[in-house]
Each structure stands twice: as C-alpha cells, then as structure tokens.
Amino acid sequence: MQITITGLKKHYHSEGKTIRALDGVNLTIEANKIFTLLGPSGCGKTTLLRCIVGLETPDEGEIKIGDTIVWSNEKNIYVPTEKRELGMVFQTYAIWPHMNVFNNVAYPLQNMKMPKDEIAKRVAKTLKFVQLEGFENRPATRLSGGQQQRVALARALVAEPKVILFDEPLSNLDAKLREETRKELRMFLGELGITAVYVTHDRVEALALSDMIGVMRAGNIVELGTPKKIYFDADHQFVADFIGRANLIPAKVTEETSEHSLVTTAIGSVVCQKRSFDPSDELTLCIRPEFLDFKPASDAINRITGVVEQMVFVGEVYESEIRVGTELIFAKLDPQTTLKEGDHVTFSMKPEHCLLVSR
C-alpha cells in the first residue's frame, strides 16, 4: 500500500525553544517496497514514523495510507493507531513481559476477534516463518535479544498488515547478531513483498536493506533515491558525507564541456563529471577513498602527488592520510604496500568518480 505524506509539520516546545521535528515533509512511499528513513539522531525520522503509525499527532499536513486519509488537520480526520491496520517493530521490541511468546504474537489477532483455532494456526505459521517453532510457551522474560527481535517481527507480521514499520529494530543487538539479523530481515521482507518503512541512523543497514532511501536532516527530507544513487550520485554534501567515508574539498567550476566540468580546488585542478547546479550554489568535490588509484598510468587524468602523513594498519587495509597542499586526503592503501609515512605518493581519480555536490 502506498503512503502519501503532504506538508507534514510537527513542532515541539521545550524551555522556550521551538524544535521543528518535522518541517513540512512531502513524501510518497511506494507500495511493496522497502523504504528507509536515514538520518542522524534528532533529524525527525522517528517522529515521522510515529506520525504515520499514529503515536504522535502532527501539527499540520496530511497522511494517507493507501486510499484512506488517516490524519488531516484541514479535514479534521484522525484515525487512532489501533484502527490503522499496521504492523510495527519497536526499537525496544516492546515484548510484553507478562505474556508468553504465543500470547504476544496472538495479541493482534485476539483484538480482531478471530476464532481461537484460526489464531493458533496463524501464530504457528508466523512463528515458523521467523524460525521460532516450539517457542509458544516460553515466557517473554526468558528470551535472548535476537529471539525477542523475532517475536517482535512475528507479532508485526501475524495479522498480515499491508504496511510494516521498523523503528531502529537492530540497534539493541550486538554487532555480530546485528549483521546476521540484517541478512535475515532482508530475506523475510523480500519474501513478503509488502510495504516496509524502516528508520535507522546506520548507513550500512540502510544500504543493505532498502529499495529506496530518504535521507533526513533537521525535519526535512534532503534527498531521495535508491541506495546506489544515494551512495554514488548524491546531490548534497550532507548526504554524500553521511552515507559513507568521503573526501570533501571545496571546489569552483572554471570550465565546462558537454560531459565534464573543470574545477579548481586546494589539491589542484580536477576534471569532474558534469552536473547542472543553480549558479548560486556553493560546490564541493566529493571523492570516496576506494576510488583513489595508487597505480596511475602516466597519462591518467587527475594525477595528484602528495606526502603520506599517517598510516594506520587496520587489517584489511592501511587507513592513511595523504597531505596535498592544505588538504588531508583520506585513502585506503593495500595492506601489502611498501609505502611508509613521509613517502611521496602519486594517485589519480577517474572523472566519473569525481562527484560535484552542493554544500
């Protein structure tokens, strides 16, 4: 089911200050896709999710789930949370401690007044799906973090909602379990093919899970796109920086051809992929460390020489900083390299990897 959000505003007042948690958000979340709201803490992503589910009331705007308006201040419509027919996985899982696994998962169906044998059948099927068969009578207080997570997922899926919402569901798991669960979640959601809205501040989670990512900052959606678009082709410096490690160098366009732009920067002139910008925009050159080529051909474009200032061995690579003029360029060097601190080094950057973004 498609979710349409128009002009959504939500302001908080605390200690005389106004915090614009949502500052007029317009967003269409396509049906049957996994959509991720990504952003730093305090950007409004959780508030937006809570508005969709109805746990928070916006100040202005409209929210439509499918063809039903669930909230509109103009039309004075408010559909309470329990009538919105959504599924949700909470950050804290919110597994009810006084119930066993069966009752936790059966709760939505019991509220739908479904016959008992039908409930039993559906719960069994869902628990099998999340690989928790045989856990029906386990008290909720005796589940591990990963198991609680699966119960939370089972509970969100059992009533077969058209939309399922995730509020940072992996943030309470330890690193190893988080990686495994992320893979499983990707598989589960792939099989189900329902609309999923996923909130996270973890860029790897967002890239790995999503069909579409919306990056948020200060109550606004800054950029919208597929994971590849967001990673390789961001329009904004904030997005490019947030989604992964990048060298960001202020740049000015001096020449333009049909395919390329020539910019001057602190590390010299660089030939970039051409992009159109508003003439008033200030620009930044963005280049990711993995695209620095340390074995450049002698006629390569964008050949740059610098001095290795720092090398830190972290296993799979050397994380190193290379001084070029006033800039420090972050690079990942082959762990077998013979380079050492103080050495001069030359690298090149392909124009298609040199991305101009607006500041």
Binding site: L55, P80, T81, E82, Y107, R155, A159, N172
Partner: protein, 565 residues
C-alpha cells in the same frame, strides 16, 4: 577476623532473639496459659473462650471489610497519583514528593482525631457548618462508621502504597503500551491487558503491605471505630485487656495468634512479589524516554483534585487541631468562635503533670531509644551485608521478623515477657518493645548503605593496623552517615508517636504522648488534645529537621570516598 565476626554474629543473634523471638514465644505459651501468674500452666480454655465468642464473627467481618476496603482505597488512589506524576504533564509535580513524605510526620492518632473533629455526628465542625448552610435536621456525615474508618485509614496508608507503585510506574517502558495500540488494542484494552498486568507485581505488593498495616492499625479503629461500636481485631484485643473487669492476657494472646500468623503469611507473599517485580523491571530496555500524556481538558480538574488531596492529607489535620486548641468547645468557625479564642487549653496542658510526663517519656524514648536502636541496627546491618554465613542469614530473618508484627499483638507477647522481669511497668519495657518492633525500619536504610561500601575499604584499614573497633569508627561509620541519619529519623519519629504497643505496655508513670492523646480523645477533651497534639507535631518536626541538618554537615567530605551505587 573470621572469629571476631562469628562472635559478633552470635552475640547479635542472642540480642535480636530476645527482642523479636522471645515475645512471639511468650505469646504462644501465654495463649495456652491460665493467666499472667499461672504462666505455662497448659490450658486450651482461652482459645475455646475467644473463638466461640459470638462477638468474634462480627469483629472478624468488620476486620475483613476494614482491611480490604482501606488497602484497596489506598492502592487505587496511589496508582492514580503515581500515574498522574509519572505519565502526565500535570503541573507542580513537587507536590507528589511532599505527599509521599510529609503525611508520615503526622501521627496517625492525630490524623484520625482531626477527622473526628470535622465529621463526628454530634458536633463535627464540617457537619455543623453543612447543617447551617443547608438547614439540615441532622449531620450529613458520620465519621464513626465503616466508610469513615476506611477513608481515613486509606489516606494514612496512601504514602506507603505510593512509594511502592511510583518507582514501578516511573520505570514502565511506554513502548509496551504503544505496541498494544499498534496491534489493534484500544485504550481500555491496553489498560487492562497491558498496563495493569505489567504493573501487577508492584500493585499487589502495595496492596499486601497495606493489608498488613491496616490489620495492625490501632489509631483509626480506636478513635473512629470504638465510639460507633465498630470493633476490629486490634480494638477487640484492646478491649479484652483494658475494658473488662479482669484484663485477660490469655484471651488476647489467643486472638493475637491468628493476626500474627496472617500477618507473617502476608509478608512472605509480599516478599515473593517484590522479588518478582525486579524481574519485570530488568526487561525494560535502555534508551526509552517516558512519553508524557498531554492532559487537555482534564488538566485543571485533575490538578484541583491533587491540591485537595494534598490539603486533606497535610494542611487540614494541622489546621483543625490549631483551631480547636484555641476554642473552649467545638463550634463552627465564625465571629463568635474567634471572639472566644484563648490560650486556656494550652495553659491547662502545660500545667497538666501527666501530659508533661508523657512528653518527657516520649522524648526520651524517641531520642535515646532511636540512638540505641540505630546502634544495634548498624551492627546487625554490618553482619547481614558483610558476613555471608548461615548464621548471618538467620540473623537477617529474625531481624526482619518484627516487620510483620502488629504492635498491639506483640505488645501482648511482651506483656507476658516483661511481667516475669523487673522491667515490667517501667519505661524500659516500652524502650525494648519499641526497638524490637521497629528494628527493621532501622536496619533497612543501613543495609543499603553498607552494600555501597566496598570491602577493600575495611580491609585496607585492617592492613594499616587498625583494630576492628577502630575500623568501624574511623572508616565504616563515617561512610554510613546518610544511612544512619535516615534510619535514626525513621525510628525516632516512630518511637515518638508510638501508640499500638504502648496502649498495652504503658502504665501510670510511663505514659507516652500517643496514649495520652487517645485518653483525651476517649474523654472528649478536644481542646487539650489539640494543644498536646500540636506540641507533638512540633517536636517531631524538630527532630527530623535537626538530625538532617547534623547529617548534612558530615556528608560533603566523606561522600567523595563512596563508591557510586
């Protein structure tokens, strides 16, 4: 070290056994004895006499209604207030802190009396005022009734119920409720299927503790129940030993046995539930922020309600006593009443030798008793926390035994005990009785203080060549000051206003304040009662404030050494 510890442990076991186990044993033997002078002369006649008394059925019925009614009222009100404080945006939240602490400083007997002054059917101030206002033929309310008793007792137990429920409500993970809403549970269903069941351990713990306290309650049943001839078990015992021609301590012991057994059983259930509640708390995950329910239309009415409850619990009793202490007889506050005001009641009380004697006795018991009690508590708490042997476990269970002792019942047990010693009818009978009965209140804050002191602090002192006594004096006790202060204050205020044990053990010459106030109340001498009651509240507050000030002077330098909890 080990040997010293075990010697200390066994000495303490002996002392505490004498204080807490002895009266129970004496109560049991006493209940099978013919009379105080024929101790140990086995007979079942007392049990037969008491448990076939036709009055008992009515008394037991009254007790059941009184106990369950008051406990339920206190728990429901506490639940409501805890919700308002922790989960809504009601203004002036400091009122809740005041509500949970200040009523403990007003002695129960005075609180009960102030309601008698307001709502008694013949000349209750509020009753007379309402009669004048609406031209009613008779008083609209009668506080000398079961509903009256339940209301007053429930208000008295509100703070303790609140102190148990409020922390549970504060640590409640709101996403549990939110997830219920998402999964199609409406507000009512969420309340009954999620919120209340998750809080159930705390609610039940509060309810059970209230039951135990109401079962032991004597102030309200004696001040408000007896004038209306509504007897509950505690007043039934009181009547058995004071109002019949021959005081029958055997019968009193026989009836007391069933209260004691019930009380101990309930405390075990209470402990079971409080252990359980920890389990629920741990599951609530980190990083949740308590969502606040925006009160919109309800804000003002709920706030007014909160103000009224605070007024009723804290201001009203003192106000009523103050007013009554200045007027010659009970009348509605008006020009005539203000014209008749004088210091007459105050003068009579100050020149009344028995009142002055009772004040002196209560001050002695409060200050000296609490000091000795605190000292014993420090030693017991030390052994409980630091010495982990079977013997120290045994010491812990006998020390907390008296937590479930209803004062009047254990008073009967002490009676059987003291009558065989030279302590009988001396102030020392009350002295030891008080320490025995309220020992858990002294130990509890000290054990939590000891838990915070790391063992290496003592060990390093011993390594430095200090003796055990020096280690205690120089290292352990200074770190314990906050615990000692709160333990001392709790004991001192409880001793200073003790009623239910005292009505059994107090004799001419060993009168104490609360008993003297009960006498005034039985005689209807409201003016003198009010003056003496205010003197009581004054000294009680003075002790609390004074000791807290002294304690604060110790804190700053020492507190740095303390291991964060």
């Amino acid at each position: 070290m080990e040997r010293r510890h075990s010697r200390l442990t066994y000495t303490l076991i002996t002392i505490v056994s004498l204080l807490t186990v002895a009266p129970v044993v004496m109560l049991v033997i006493g209940s099978f004895s013919k009379n105080l002078r024929a101790f140990g002369d086995f007979t079942l006649s007392k049990y037969i006499a008491v448990y076939t008394d036709p009055m008992l059925v009515e008394t037991a019925g009254n007790t059941l209604v009184f106990v369950l009614g008051s406990a339920a009222f206190a728990t429901v009100l506490a639940l409501f207030l805890a919700y308002l404080n922790n989960r809504t945006n009601i203004p002036f939240k400091f009122l809740f802190k005041v509500l949970s602490v200040v009523p403990m400083m007003i002695p129960h007997v005075l609180f009960a009396v102030s309601w008698a002054l307001l709502l008694n059917p013949s000349n209750g101030i509020l009753n007379m005022w309402l009669q004048q206002l609406f031209g009613l033929a008779k008083a609209p309310f009668n506080i000398y009734s079961m509903p009256g008793m339940i209301m007053v007792e429930g208000l008295l137990d509100l703070p303790i119920a609140y102190l148990i429920i409020s922390p549970a409500m504060a640590s409640f993970d709101v996403s549990l409720e939110e997830s219920s809403r998402v999964f199609k549970g409406g507000p009512m269903r969420t309340l009954f299927k999620i919120t209340l069941p998750v809080l159930r351990p705390a609610i039940l713990a509060a309810f059970i503790l209230c039951i135990v306290r109401v079962l032991a309650s004597f102030a309200v049943p004696s001040v408000l129940g007896m004038p209306g001839r509504i007897y509950v078990l505690s007043t039934y015992i009181y009547r058995t030993v004071t109002m019949s021609l021959i005081a029958d301590y055997g019968k009193a012991a026989a009836i007391g046995m069933s209260i004691l057994v019930l009380s101990i059983t309930l405390i075990y259930i209470y402990r079971y539930y409080t252990r359980f509640s920890d389990k629920y708390v741990t599951i609530s995950s980190r990083g949740f922020k308590p969502a606040v329910v925006e009160l919109r239309k309800g804000k003002i009415p709920l706030f007014i309600m909160l103000i009224i409850i605070s007024f009723i619990l804290i201001v009203l009793p003192v106000l009523v006593l103050l007013y009554t202490s200045f007027i010659p007889y009970i009348m509605v506050p008006n020009g005539q009443a203000f014209a008749a005001m004088s210091l007459a009641n105050w003068r009579t009380v100050i020149s009344d030798p028995i009142s002055i004697k009772s004040l002196g006795n209560s001050l002695f018991l409060g200050i000296v008793g609490a000091t000795v009690g605190s000292f014993l508590s420090i030693l017991v708490a030390y052994v409980i926390v630091k010495v982990k042997t079977k013997a120290s476990g045994f010491l812990e269970s006998i020390s907390f035994l008296s937590f479930s002792f209803p004062g009047i019942v254990i008073g009967i047990g002490f009676m059987w005990f003291f009558v065989r010693t030279p302590l009988y009818a001396t102030i020392w009978a009350l002295f030891f009785g008080y320490i025995a009965t309220y020992l858990p209140y002294g130990i509890r804050p000290m054990t939590s203080a000891f838990v915070q002191i790391h063992g290496s602090l003592e060990e390093s002192s011993l390594v430095c060549g200090a003796s055990f006594a020096t280690t205690m004096r120089r290292v352990v006790i200074p770190l314990l000051v906050p615990g000692i202060v709160s333990g001392w204050v709790l004991m001192a205020t409880m001793f200073f206003r003790e009623l239910s044990l005292s009505v059994v053990l107090s004799r001419p010459g060993t009168e104490v304040l609360a008993v003297q106030i009960l006498r005034f109340s039985e005689d209807g001498q409201w003016g003198k009662l009010s003056a003496l009651g205010l003197i009581m509240i004054f000294f009680s507050t003075l002790m609390v404030v004074g000791v807290n000030l002294i304690g604060n002077r110790f804190k700053p330098g020492e507190a740095k050494d303390r291991k964060p909890a």
